[in-house]
């Protein structure tokens, strides 16, 4: 009846997951209670859960990403403290627990923190920058988000019911086959990633279509802001490689469920094939994350230097170059498998060639600042911190691409330091910079500058205190994923690294305080103009927060940096353009299909993990039924009356008029 599930699945004997779960359940119940008590359910349901507005979905993605980032960081604290104390000692985490923690840390950080955050920014920013009212497929967008949330839910359930994978964030067979991992951990991994992976693939399709087909009049390809280009490149990679991930994990599931032999060690299976396939997805995945991050930095360097992006066409070329070459480098993850010198040479060189694209970008950002007026606001601090951190991460990356050097430091703490160097320094710094940059557009007020700067400095130094020791340990021969350490000489560096995590934790606390202080002082920090940073792209042409229809009338773009052009003309002529004739707007109706589908997808995933076949069938049928009902809907869109549009846009024009007068007054005094 209930497959493998029974009461013994719950780890009553292990205090850490038990207490964590109790606290989590209490927090969730508290939040639900508060929402019920305050009567917020109708608002949440109509305005957020069923919303198909790309900005709302983007914000929900970012919220999910931030929550999971904290969860993944908690894992990181446990890993670093365990290794610091477990020198010739067992430490406080048994191997069976420690192995789940590092597996969960990697899985969560890539699939459920970095991906939702990056996709959240793609959602929030891209349609605004393209000057359109929504993405190509708004309801599919909602389905994508809820499927990602469903995957995150399954990962968190594994804390309390059963266990998570103990095989690392990529479950290499034969270790992940039933012979060596008979528990449900790997199944939790497989189904959480499968369900969210389908959501990601749909996001990729959605944004390729949006960028190719949904630009406002005059927004030709070479007038698109850099972030839109990176969204396109990233989405193209998603569409190309996520099917590989789905197929690979499906094959591993078939091995595990039905005893097939795709990747087993015996009976004709080949585990090497898994490594090739998973990295044919896994390496491009890095660029799915980092390209939009580059886009965020491009916007910030240009805006805060008061200049257009230097070498825009060069940047576009470099982005597309990286997009293509990223799919030709996967084998560098296993030079040490013995593929032979010819293969290793080819992949070593293709890997270092990517550094050409990133190198060009670094120089173009530097020359964007050259001759500018650089404002050292919080987003700019993260961006400069990024250049320093990412360039060094890039250098150690090219080192790992040299096969004989890789033979010494493959799978070592040096490797761990390298990929944190590029993913934290590249992606996470970009996300924090972007949060500060676009927060006013989302909520109508800026984030507190002082706490933002404090968060940057603690995170930046904390990062280097954590990871410099790991580079050194890697050179001393320390390999990764050790639950305890038998070499006492390594302990000082491990302790230093744990201290670094403590410093990062102070940075995290600063971020929380920043958010609270900003909410409390939101009236002082309010962005009345809609253009708090002297922006250059179309999202700053809208009021803050942007109305649900984004633009009252479609912008007409006449050059690169669309909004900068409009703004310059207004300043020169000392007045806004003539008031347009307002017309009713058609917007897609909200739909619960995303939430509904994901709820049943979660049930299906859970049932498959525990092999409750009848429930899996039922859940799957219900999820599909949701789509069928949606497909036969009668009402697709609703009309926003012209008067409502006019009212919103006249308020915006009044604010712009004030901004114009303020700028004119500044000009007069200067």
């Amino acid at each position: 009846m209930f497959g493998k599930l029974s009461w013994s699945a719950i780890p009553f004997d292990q205090p850490i997951p038990l207490i964590t779960t109790l606290v989590l359940v209490l927090v969730i119940l508290g939040v639900l209670g508060l929402v019920t008590f305050k009567g917020w359910w109708p608002y949440l349901w109509h305005e957020w859960i069923t919303s198909v507005d790309h900005k709302r979905i983007g914000i929900m993605y970012i919220l999910l990403g931030v929550v999971m980032l904290v969860r993944g960081f908690a894992d990181a604290i446990m890993m670093r403290t365990q290794q610091a104390v477990a020198v010739n000692a067992p430490g406080y985490l048994e191997p069976e627990h420690y192995n789940q923690i590092f597996s969960a840390h990697g899985t969560i950080m890539i699939f459920f923190a970095a991906m939702p955050l990056v996709i959240g920014f793609m959602n929030f920013v891209t349609p605004l920058q393209l000057g359109v009212r929504d993405v190509a497929f708004p309801t599919m967008n909602s389905v994508s988000f809820w499927l990602t949330a469903s995957g995150a839910l399954l990962v968190n359930i594994s804390l309390f019911i059963g266990e998570f994978a103990r095989t690392g964030w990529l479950p290499y067979p034969p270790l992940s086959e039933t012979a060596y991992s008979p528990g449900v951990g790997v199944d939790y991994y497989l189904w959480a990633v499968q369900i969210s992976g389908i959501g990601t693939l749909m996001t990729g399709i959605n944004f390729v279509t949006t960028v190719l087909k949904m630009r406002c009049p005059g927004m030709s390809y070479l007038r698109m802001p850099m972030f839109c280009w990176t969204t396109l490149a990233s989405s193209l990679i998603i569409v190309a490689v996520f099917p590989i991930l789905t197929a690979t994990l499906a094959m591993l599931s078939l091995d595990r469920f039905f005893g097939w032999h795709f990747f087993t060690a015996d009976a004709g299976g080949n585990p090497m094939m898994f490594m090739n396939l998973i990295w044919a997805w896994g390496h491009p995945e890095v660029y799915i994350l980092v390209l939009p991050a580059f886009g965020i930095f491009s916007e910030i360097f240009s805006t805060f230097s008061g200049k257009p992006l230097f070498g825009y066409r060069s940047m576009v070329a470099a982005t597309l170059f990286i997009c293509i070459v990223s799919m030709m480098t996967w084998l560098h993850h296993f030079f040490t498998m013995g593929s032979g010198p010819a293969v290793n040479t080819a992949f070593g060189i293709s890997t270092s060639i990517i550094a050409v694209g990133t190198g060009v970008k670094i120089y173009n950002w530097i020359f964007t600042m050259y001759g500018g007026r650089v404002r050292m606001s919080v987003p700019m601090l993260w961006s400069l911190g990024f250049i320093f951190t990412f360039v060094i991460g890039g250098m150690t990356g090219v080192l790992l691409a040299v096969p004989p050097a890789d033979f010494l430091v493959h799978n070592s703490m040096f490797l761990v330091a390298h990929f944190h160097n590029v993913i934290v320094g590249g992606v996470v710094f970009a996300l924090f910079a972007g949060l500060d940059f676009w927060f006013p557009k989302a909520f109508g007020f800026r984030l507190h500058e002082g706490w933002g700067k404090a968060a940057f400095w603690f995170s930046f130094f904390g990062f280097w205190i954590t990871f410099t020791p790991l580079y050194i340990l890697g050179l001393e021969g320390m390999t990764r994923r050790l639950q305890h350490v038998n070499v006492p000489e390594w302990q000082p560096m491990l302790i230093l690294s744990a201290i670094g995590v403590g410093v990062i934790a102070i940075g995290v606390v600063c971020q929380v305080i920043m958010l609270l202080v900003s909410i409390i002082r939101r009236d002082q920090l309010r962005d009345e103009s809609g253009d708090p940073w002297d922006g250059r792209s179309l999202e700053w042409a809208t009021p803050s927060p942007a109305p649900f229809f984004n633009f009252a009338t479609m912008p007409n773009v006449e050059g690169e940096e669309a909004y900068w052009g409009i703004k310059t003309r207004a300043i020169e002529s000392q007045r806004l353009g003539p008031e347009p004739k307002y017309e009713p707007i058609e917007m897609p109706v909200h739909s619960p299909v995303g939430f509904f589908t994901a709820a049943f997808a979660s049930v299906t995933g859970f049932a498959l993990i525990w092999q409750i076949w009848w429930l899996a069938g039922l859940g799957f049928a219900a999820a599909i039924a949701g789509f069928v009902v949606f497909a036969w809907r009668d009402v697709h869109e609703f009309h926003v009356p012209a008067e409502e549009v006019a009212e919103v846009d006249r308020a915006r024009r009044a604010a712009r008029q004030k901004l114009l007068e303020r700028l004119a007054a500044q000009e007069a005094t200067a």
């Binding site: 599930l5 013994s8 699945a9 780890p11 191997p95 069976e96 192995n99 019911i161 059963g162 266990e163 103990r166 290499y172 034969p174 270790l175 012979a179 060596y180 991992s181 008979p182 449900v184 060690a265 015996d266 585990p271 090497m272 008061g306 200049k307 230097f310 825009y312 060069s314 040490t336 498998m337 013995g338 290793n344 070593g348 060639i353 050409v356 190198g359 020359f367 600042m369 050259y370 001759g371 007026r373 250049i387 320093f388 060094i392 250098m395 090219v398 691409a401 040299v402 004989p404 050097a405 033979f407 010494l408 430091v409 493959h410 799978n411 070592s412 050179l475 001393e476 021969g477 000489e489």
Partner: protein, 310 residues
């Protein structure tokens, strides 16, 4: 503008030299026990490539980082002396330089990759007048089995090798993936079930070294380490002779017991070994190691470590 740029680059060059020296020093200090302190030719070549590639790239990235910070500082909004050029967003000459620097660097590194990959291919026999010693390596859950086919002996978690002699390792796994790695001897390579990989290493002088698995393989992974004793050739011959006189025999029954999961196994010496054992394991005529036992876990969905904790 170009003048100030070139002066910045000149300043950068001076600082670069100092920074490079500092970096080399830091690497040398940190490597006093690790991969940068090799005892044999492979490790020496690997680590030289690692250091050379680092220096080549530091020569580029240190000036780049300094340039970035200098530009950001020079053109800070509060500096009224810096000229503001709000429309300067393209320069063919700068673009040419910007593409050339990374391309030239990578062409250089590409050469290092090409030559290094061939010269340090793990499968390539080492150049030496001394005939190589063959050692067959089997990774098990969670210990290492070393078979000396010529000497007819075998050891667990202990590798004794003659100094100055090339060692030809033939490596397989009886269960899951592992990587065979002796940091101070140089290159690592995967141990894989159903496959044999080869690795040629040499220790030039007597030394006591640490060997380990460098690829996660499950609960007992942290203790999957072995002692490596590089000894003078005469001492090695004496050790092998002595080993033949004592200990158990590694036949298929003894191997079946050894293949079961166990943690933190102390060194064992076998006085005799089934001569086709390695071949039987690597071709899987002996089926893969059993993994966790009992196969059906006591707790639903959760694995328990059969060997218990250490």
């Amino acid at each position: 503008m170009l003048l100030s740029l070139s002066s910045a680059l000149g300043e950068g060059r001076k600082r670069l030299r100092r920074a490079a020296q500092g970096a080399v020093l830091a690497l040398a200090l940190s490597g006093c026990s690790g991969v940068l302190d090799p005892v044999g030719p492979v490790g020496a070549d690997d680590s030289r490539i690692l250091i050379d590639a680092t220096l080549i790239m530091l020569a580029i990235i240190v000036p780049t980082i300094l340039l970035a910070f200098w530009v950001a500082w020079r053109y800070r909004a509060s500096n009224t002396k810096a000229d503001y050029q709000p429309y300067w967003a393209y320069s063919g000459r700068v673009e040419a330089v910007v593409w050339s620097i990374p391309i030239l660097t990578i062409m250089f590194i590409g050469g290092v990759i090409w030559i290094g990959s061939y010269r340090l291919d793990p499968f390539r026999p080492l150049d030496s007048n001394v005939p190589p010693l063959e050692v067959q390596v089997v990774s098990l859950d969670w210990k290492w089995l070393f078979i000396y086919p010529r000497q007819g002996i075998a050891t667990v978690n202990q590798l004794v090798i003659p100094a100055g002699t090339p060692i030809r390792f033939r490596i397989t796994s009886a269960s899951v993936f592992n990587a065979f790695f002796i940091p101070r001897m140089g290159s690592m390579i995967y141990a894989m079930p159903g496959m044999v990989s080869e690795l040629n290493l040499q220790a030039d002088r007597p030394a006591l070294l640490m060997g380990q698995s460098a690829h996660f393989s499950g609960d007992g992974f942290s203790d999957m380490q072995f002692q490596v004793r590089s000894v003078p050739p005469a001492e090695f011959a004496a050790w092998a002779q002595g080993a033949r006189g004592a200990g158990a025999v590694l036949d298929q029954a003894a191997y079946a017991n050894l293949a079961r999961q166990s943690h933190n196994v102390p060194p064992i010496v076998f006085r005799a070994v089934d001569p086709v054992l390695f071949q039987a394991i690597s071709t899987q005529r002996i089926p893969p190691a059993p993994g966790p036992e009992p196969a059906a876990p006591a707790q639903a969905g959760r694995e328990v470590s059969p060997a218990g904790s250490h």
